[in-house]
Amino acid sequence: MMKNAVSCRDLVVVRGDREVLRGVGFDIRGGSVTGLLGPSGCGKTTLIRAIVGLQARVTGDISVLGLPAGAPKLRGRIGYVTQEPSVYGDLTVTENLRFFAAVLGVPSSDVERVVEAVDLTSHADARVDQLSGGQRSRASLAAALLGSPELLVLDEPTVGLDPVLRRDLWNLFHELADAGSTLLVSSHVMDEASRCDRLLLMRDGELLADDTPQDLLLSAGTNDIEQAFLTLIERKAGAR
C-alpha cells in the first residue's frame, strides 16, 4: 500500500476577514480517487488551491507527496485543473499543449497521448475559443495530464459534460489511479460520489465526513448520497 499522497492537519484559511477553511484535516491515500464534495461556496476550491500551493494566508500543515505544499520541488509533479478552463483561447488545443509540455520539459510526443485520453483528437487543431465549454474543459484537463503527474487535483472537471463523456472521464480517472497516480476530484454533483474510492464531504469550511461511499451510506442508513449528506448535517446540528 502506498503512503499518503496528501496529508492535512488543522488547516485554516482566511480570506478577507472570513475563515473559509476552519480546521480541516484528512489524509489521501496514494493511488486512489478521492471525491471532494460539497455545495458551491463551501471551501472546495480554497482547499484545492492550498494543496497546490497557490493559496495565501494558510495556517496548519499540508504535506503533499512528502513535501510541504507549495514547495518548489513539487512544481511539475502535480497536475492542476482550475474550475474555469485555464488554456489560451487564441491558440489551438495542440499549440496550448505543446506550450505547457515545453514548460514542463515533457517531450512533445506526450501531447498526442493526452489529446487522445480526453477524446479531443478530432479538435486538436481547433482554436480553443471556438470549442464548446465541455471541449474547452477537456483541453484544460489534457494539459494537467502532461507528463503523467503523481498527483492530479481537478476542480470540477466534469461540469457541463454529457453523461457518456462523464462516464469515460471517470473511467480515465480510475485508469490513472490504477497506474499509480493519486486523484482529488471536486464536484458539487452528488451522484458522482459513488464513482470515488473515498469521499470528503465539506460544508461551510468544515469537513463533514471522510469515508468510503459505502460506509458513508451505511452509517447514514440510506442509499442516496444526497440524503446521507442531509443526515450528516442534521446530526451535526443536533450534536451542538
Binding site: 480570506r15 478577507g16 488551491r49 497546490v52 500551493g53 497557490l54 493559496q55 495565501a56 494566508r57 494558510v58 507549495g70 513539487l74 512544481r75 511539475g76 502535480i78 492542476y80 482550475t82 474550475q83 474555469e84 478552463p85 485555464s86 488554456v87 489560451y88 483561447g89 487564441d90 491558440l91 499549440e95 506550450f99 505547457f100 515545453a102 514548460v103 514542463l104 520539459g105 482554436r127 494539459a143 494537467a144
Partner: protein, 245 residues
C-alpha cells in the same frame, strides 16, 4: 530561471500575437502614424519637428508598449493560466522575461518602421547615425514593455492596470524634456526628472540627434535605460505573487 521555459513563453506570446492582427498593427504602425501626424502639424515650422521629432521616437513606442503589456499578466491571472503555470516549473522571472523577449522582437520591427519613416519620409534632421537611433528606439520600446510588466504585477485587475498608464507614464511624458528641455525645468522638477526612466530614453535620442555616438555621451544614457529595464523586470518578478488570497 530556465532558458527553456523563458523561450517557451516568448514563442507562445508571439504565436498569440500572430493571431491578433489588430494589436500587431497598433504596435507597429501606430507610432509611425503618430510621428507623421506631428510632422504634419508642424509642416510650416520644420524647426519644431526637428526638435520634438527625436523625443517622440522615444515617447510613442514606450507608451504603446506600456499599455499593451500592462494588462498582459492580468489576462493570464483572470484566465487561470497563471495559476496553472505557477504549479509548473515556471520561475516568475521566466514568465516576465518571456513576455519581454517577445515584445522586444516587436519593438525591433516597430523601431525599424518609425525610424525609417521619420528619417527618410519625414526628413527628420539628425546628426548621428541612423542605426544608433534605431538601437535607442528599440531600447525605448523595451523600456515601455518592462515598465508595463512591472505595473501589471502591481495591479490586481485589468481595470486597475489601465489606470497605470496615466499614473505612471503621463508624468514622465511631461517631465522627459519633450515639452520643456529638462535643464529649463524648476529645480525640484528637474531633480524628479533625473530619476524617471523616460528622461534617459529621451536624452539618449537627443544625444544621437546631436551626433553624439554611443562612445561619446549617449552611451551613458543608453546604459541607464538598460538598467531601468532590468530593474523593472527584476522588481516585477519580485512583486508577482504565486500565492494569492
Amino acid at each position: 530561471m530556465t532558458p527553456r521555459v523563458t523561450f517557451a513563453v516568448a514563442a507562445r506570446v508571439l504565436a498569440q500575437l500572430r493571431r491578433d492582427h489588430r494589436t500587431v498593427a497598433m504596435l507597429i504602425v501606430l507610432p509611425a502614424l503618430l510621428v507623421s501626424l506631428m510632422w504634419w502639424m508642424f509642416t510650416d515650422s520644420p524647426m519644431v519637428f526637428d526638435r520634438v521629432g527625436g523625443p517622440l521616437l522615444a515617447v510613442f513606442p514606450s507608451i504603446i508598449m506600456f499599455v499593451v503589456t500592462s494588462v498582459a499578466t492580468l489576462r493570464e491571472r483572470s484566465s487561470g493560466t497563471l495559476s496553472r503555470l505557477f504549479t509548473m516549473p515556471m520561475g516568475k522571472l521566466d514568465f516576465l522575461l518571456g513576455y519581454a523577449l517577445a515584445f522586444a522582437l516587436i519593438a525591433v520591427v516597430q523601431a525599424l518602421a518609425v525610424v525609417s519613416i521619420a528619417l527618410y519620409l519625414l526628413d527628420l534632421d539628425i546628426q548621428g547615425a541612423a542605426w544608433q537611433l534605431g538601437v535607442v528606439a528599440v531600447l525605448d520600446g523595451v523600456l515601455g514593455t518592462a515598465l508595463g510588466l512591472f505595473a501589471s504585477a502591481f495591479a490586481a485587475t485589468e481595470f486597475q492596470a489601465v489606470q497605470m498608464m496615466p499614473a505612471v507614464m503621463i508624468p514622465q511624458i511631461l517631465l522627459c524634456g519633450l515639452l520643456v528641455p529638462r535643464d529649463q525645468l524648476p529645480t525640484v522638477l528637474h531633480a524628479v526628472s533625473d530619476v524617471l526612466p523616460l528622461s534617459y530614453a529621451v536624452d539618449a535620442v537627443l544625444g544621437v540627434a546631436k551626433g553624439n555616438g554611443f562612445t561619446t555621451g549617449t552611451g551613458g544614457d543608453t546604459l541607464v535605460v538598460l538598467g531601468f529595464i532590468l530593474a523593472a523586470l527584476g522588481l516585477g518578478a519580485a512583486t508577482l505573487r504565486r500565492r494569492t488570497a
